[in-house]
Symmetry: C2
Subunit: 212 residues, 2 copies
């Protein structure tokens, strides 16, 4: 049995097929590109997004994530330097986002200075928590692996022990009638994932899970 | 201004302090240890947890996460082999969990076979999505870095390209009166995190964010 969902809030509908219903917040998050450049993210909403990341779980409670935040309305020069780190394919749409962030992962455990092999794993959890809080507030978040990590490190003097993982664009979605033609196809493309049985295994590697 | 929350559902209350309110689902998830061994996780709820992980975002849409699932009620021998991989400190409480899982991260991108530097980051996002769906269903999830990764790889024939990241215990929480004395202190310990300004930076590395 398929549960078919669609969501509105400030965003237009985007359906997913699931074998069992999942919580609206998890189902409604998706990575759009059509940001509204005229609507900055309110400070209270930004703070809530950071709080969501802050309360993610981590190995040894280390909280290995660090985020740099650039708000166009507050520091356009800094925001532009961040934008300039993006891959060419991401710039045209990401430059419409009023808020850019960079998620970095600590490679060292604070309590004893040993390598933290969960630094990136835990940082990914913090970043999606931020994205979910954004979705709960009618905002859209799009994470990007496509950026010049070395340049970001130089530009923003990121210490060696931290690894820049993802640039994050955030803001409000454009109203549907204003979505530019060149983004339309990607914005309306159906969301898709591999089948459950291909990535979730029952007791043994490679044996697809029994789905109810 | 602090927003102070507390939650019940099937779990007892656990408060967090945030500078701005965050979504109940994000605020209510926490990593308890007092599992009820008499209540298996229903198959539909398990499927929903896996669906939540499945719909997490990933770089290039690669979906680098793989999960092995052991249900005590369905395959006690397999569940026990998974339990035996845990660190000594985790076994006493994790053996009460009816459901164990292992999150693994692909180190290679499917589309071109090149290294996937976001494999662990994306897998962390999938795993917390699973934990959030669990919380939405009145279940508790506790991820563990403390396990013998090499042993898990051997026991379950995990291919070299995948990295075992976290063992995950899941189940229902014990009713409060039944929480054993040796777990009480940890179960009731206040949740705590570093200050926002220590991990979220405004435009420049190390400059604490301006909080509303």
């Amino acid at each position: 049995m398929l549960g078919r969902y669609s969501f509105e809030a400030h965003m237009f509908k985007k359906a997913i097929d699931t074998a069992q219903p999942i919580h609206d917040l998890l189902a409604s998050r998706w990575s759009g590109r059509a940001f509204d450049p005229t609507r900055p993210v309110e400070r209270g909403k930004l703070t809530a997004m950071l709080e969501a990341a802050r309360w993610a779980p981590s190995c040894y409670g280390d909280q290995p994530w660090r985020f740099i935040v650039w708000e166009k309305a507050r520091d356009e020069a800094g925001w532009r330097r961040a934008l300039d780190c993006l891959a060419a394919g991401n710039k045209p749409w990401a430059r419409q986002a009023p808020l850019l962030m960079l998620a970095c992962a600590d490679s060292v455990l604070t309590h004893d200075g040993s390598p933290n092999r969960w630094g990136q794993y835990d940082t990914g959890a913090a970043a999606i928590s931020l994205a979910l809080q954004a979705a709960a507030q009618g905002l859209m978040v799009h994470q990007m692996g496509g950026f010049d990590s070395d340049r970001a490190r130089r530009e923003f003097r990121i210490p060696d022990r931290y690894t820049p993982m993802a640039m994050i664009a955030a803001g409000y979605q454009l109203p549907e009638h204003a979505i530019p033609a060149e983004l339309r196809e990607r914005e309306y493309a159906p969301r898709a994932r591999r089948p459950l049985t291909e990535i979730f295994f029952q007791s043994t590697w490679g044996r697809g899970i029994h789905v109810s």
